[in-house]
Symmetry: C2
Subunit: 143 residues, 2 copies
Amino acid sequence: MDLVAMISHKETIVQALKDKGLRVTPQRFAVYANLLSRQDHPTVDQLLQDLNQELPVSSQATIYTSLQALQAAGLVREVLLEPGVTRYDANVDRHHHFRCRCCGAIEDVPWTAFRELNLDHVRAGLHADAYEVTVYGVCDRCQ
Amino acid sequence: MDLVAMISHKETIVQALKDKGLRVTPQRFAVYANLLSRQDHPTVDQLLQDLNQELPVSSQATIYTSLQALQAAGLVREVLLEPGVTRYDANVDRHHHFRCRCCGAIEDVPWTAFRELNLDHVRAGLHADAYEVTVYGVCDRCQ
DNA sequence: CTTTGTGCAAACGATTTGCAGGATG
DNA sequence: CATCCTGCAAATCGTTTGCACAAAG
């Protein structure tokens, strides 16, 4: 990414935060920008390691509260695929997940990988309005 | 359920444990029988409350280890739909889940509610061999 | 200047573990 | 009787909270 693109990317992130009524602080920006830049679905601890690798950027408690704010604003989403571990995903467009049963890696699966499901037959009386598919298997590295 | 059915039900559970090479202890039996009898997907704490309601049956630590053993044997399964909460399900046949966004209730959705998905287009290189659908909405009681 | 965010450390809740005694095959 | 299980309490891990100070609008 060239300099101009980087600056405009930064502006896009700032704007996204402002649009949701969130104050733009260095910590919030760092958390959201980091999440946006990653393909995986890091835990709070992985975010903490990554953000503070060079120099201290944010404390653990602030990462938790930043994620709460970002989630309430609809900019990030939780991913729950292992007991006791909450992962975060900056991709809030609808999509599915793949989980490697061997190494635990999690990867996004595009919404278009499956034909749309019909929720009418879930059960009468329920207002089912959304869904997602979790796929299990073995990833390339583990075979 | 009449007496004969109850006894044969008990024998079925004992046999299931034995078949998996598990020792049949009162605690393990109680945990598994309780899970089999419920429609919901209890947490460890809910199991603990329920089992020890009348008289003490099992300690918390033993419920944890029993569930581990039952899970390793393939008799029960974890259900992860809320952060920090692990629920358990004795239904190990393939099925989907519904989660009420209002009260958090979880309910099984029969496998046949959807037509079979084709996993061929998940991503080249992945060996995808299983999946399940999580449906979100509002349950009858919450409307 | 008022409101909201940050960092630290303590608190908390769920789960795991070490160990001594007890039950199972 | 050797092995595995149970219960208790302490330890651990992820997350939340209280509070004093700092930054944002």
